[in-house]
């Protein structure tokens, strides 16, 4: 009886409040810590306005929830801890998000446009019969979003007409929230019905590196086909170490097996926007430019003066990279 009562109250309330925005952010973490793209998603959520809650789901939510508890402007942190979320599969997380949505009636559901967010949000959207909006680079109003199409060669402004807006946001287009000054309260949400045997997580083979993470690095040094071999990438690692830079690559370098796929910068790889991007032996195909042309300063080192990369580079050096890169590295010490 009591629950009936409160349900009626809730529905009356929601009628009064329906013009207000309320956003649910799906936190991305690895059970050990928060993925920084969640901080960019938080900034995007603040642009929309209204109440903001964050959902932390995983086998171990403590570290991510602790980090988020420091953020200001959060009304609530929802915790869903269960073995069902091993591997963060979309199949296990979708029922959780749907039941959370049913309980709290958010107007917006947001996550970072990472591999995690891209796999998850469209599944959630389809279950809610909503058309999701991918990889948003700007928020003009609670229903009007800006995104890039055609590998970043056109900018589309669009109005989403569905009642719930489900958007993934491009990390590099929104500042990272500093996670300071807040003390949001946490609440546990039930995880019944989330366990599934549809998809089972088997394992990961993650690339290990001491260098900064590619998508959030201040400086990125990238190599392309011009490097000629995986061994020659050592030239770039040496340069990157001098600059405390992350190392990226073009698709040609990944396809040739010089470096693993998770270093790929471009339309179908990672989107980066560092302060300084140094493209070495990269011609500058449309698909590569899509991933780096929002960098503040672009330097290109290429022996072909006609290479399209020079059209976007602030500083170009027409030179043999095998001479120029070691020289640059030595002159930086």
């Amino acid at each position: 009886m009591f629950s009936n009562c409160s349900r009626q109250l809730t529905s009356q309330f929601s009628n009064h409040l329906k013009r207000l925005q309320s956003t649910l952010i799906i936190a991305e973490h690895d059970n050990k810590g928060l993925n920084p793209i969640t901080q960019n998603a938080l900034t995007a959520a603040k642009k929309i306005g209204g109440e903001i809650s964050v959902l932390v789901a995983g086998t171990k939510c403590g570290p991510a929830a602790e980090a988020l508890a420091k953020a200001n402007g959060l009304s609530k942190i929802l915790i869903a801890e269960s073995d069902a979320f091993n591997g963060f599969t979309a199949e296990s997380l979708t029922p959780l998000i749907i039941s959370t949505q049913k309980q709290f009636n958010y107007t917006h559901i947001i996550a970072g446009a990472s591999a995690f967010g891209k796999a998850l949000l469209p599944r959630v959207a389809a279950k809610l019969d909503v058309s999701p909006v991918s990889d948003v680079i700007g928020i003009k109003s609670p229903d009007t979003f800006v995104r890039s199409i055609y590998a970043g060669n056109a900018i589309q402004t669009m109005k989403a007409n569905d009642p719930i807006k489900i958007i993934s946001v491009r990390g590099t287009s929104f500042e990272a929230d500093k996670l300071e000054g807040g003390s949001a309260k946490t609440e546990t949400v039930p995880t019944d019905g989330c366990a599934t045997d549809m998809t089972v997580f088997v394992g990961q083979q993650l690339s290990k590196s001491d260098r900064p993470e590619l998508t959030s690095a201040k400086v990125v040094v990238s190599g392309g086909r011009g490097l000629k071999s995986g061994d020659n990438f050592k030239l770039l690692y040496d340069l990157a170490d001098k600059l405390n830079a992350a190392v990226g690559a073009s698709r040609a370098a990944v396809d040739a097996g010089f470096v693993p796929n998770d270093l790929q910068v471009g339309q179908t790889g990672k989107i980066v926007a560092p302060d300084l991007y140094i493209a070495v032996g990269i011609s500058g195909a449309i698909q590569h430019l899509a991933g780096m042309k929002d960098s503040k300063t672009i330097v290109a080192i290429n022996k072909d003066p006609e290479a399209p990369i020079f059209q976007v580079a602030d500083y170009g050096l027409v030179a043999d990279l095998f001479k120029a890169v070691p020289e640059l590295t030595s002159k930086l010490s």
Binding site: A125, N161, V219, D262, D275
Partner: protein, 253 residues
């Protein structure tokens, strides 16, 4: 053996430098070279390889779009697909056709054709949405294996290696399932002339979203499509010393 449905989209060729229309309503498509979305070629290739390994019994290629969408279905047929379905959507409806609509169409066709595997590209290179596979899986309540770079077929399940941010991950999905192909899944074959000729005899069924009971009314309004900001022309530097100087000037070192 699986009956496999592949989704193929006709898009502006990946090598074309697109032009935004002066009235800012979209990009110029008339008279521009189009071809099959590169990720869909990979999806088709994977399906054909499954058939060659006797893991798939029949492959059906589906494309939603105007009359010209049949061109990419023919390409798929020439690569080894058995039959095509063209879901005709044109004019204003095609302008606002989104993954939500396509996923509903694919789900309906999957039921109709009794398919038990769907392979699509991970994203179309025009709208860059990266949504259709996930939404189709949700519509059917099937598992999803997104950004696949390796697929190993079992009897009742598939083991899929996925390209994720930090490297690779492996999952097992129960069949039936939806797969989205990443670039490194395979190297698509070229259709040979005899196969292109043979493809002309393969059947393409035509239907409309209405025939399938799918509502394609727009979920978005395009406010504008504009050119991205143009970067200011840079300078070609004479040597490494000049570059070091500029990096110092810019406060990078």
């Amino acid at each position: 053996m699986a009956r496999v449905l592949v989704g193929v989209k006709r898009v502006i060729d990946y090598a074309v430098k697109i032009r935004v229309k002066p009235d800012k309503t979209g990009v110029v498509t008339d008279g521009v070279k189009h071809s099959m979305n590169p990720f869909d070629e990979i999806a088709v290739e994977e399906a054909v390889r499954m058939k060659e390994k006797k893991l798939a019994s029949e492959i059906i290629a589906v494309s939603c779009g105007p009359t010209q969408a049949q061109d990419v279905i023919r390409t798929a047929l020439a690569m080894g697909v058995d039959k095509g379905i063209h879901v005709e959507v044109s004019g204003a409806e095609y302008e606002t056709l989104q993954p939500i609509h396509v996923s509903k169409i694919l789900a309906k066709l999957t039921e109709k054709e009794k398919a038990d595997m769907i392979i699509v590209g991970k994203q179309a290179i025009d709208d860059d949405s990266n949504q259709t596979a996930q939404m189709t899986a949700a519509a059917l309540d099937w598992p999803q294996a997104t950004f696949a770079s390796k697929i190993e077929n079992g009897d009742k399940e598939i083991t899929v290696t996925r390209e994720v941010d930090g490297g690779l991950e492996t999952i097992k999905c129960k069949l039936p399932a939806v797969i989205s192909a990443d670039l490194r899944l395979n190297e698509p074959r070229y259709a040979t002339l005899p196969n292109i000729m043979k493809a002309k005899k393969k059947p393409i069924t035509k239907m409309t979203p209405k025939d399938l009971g799918v509502d394609v009314s727009p979920r978005i309004t395009v406010v504008s499509v504009e050119d991205p900001p143009v970067r200011q022309a840079g300078a070609i530097l004479p040597d490494v010393d000049a570059l070091v100087g500029k990096l110092k000037e810019g406060g990078h070192i």
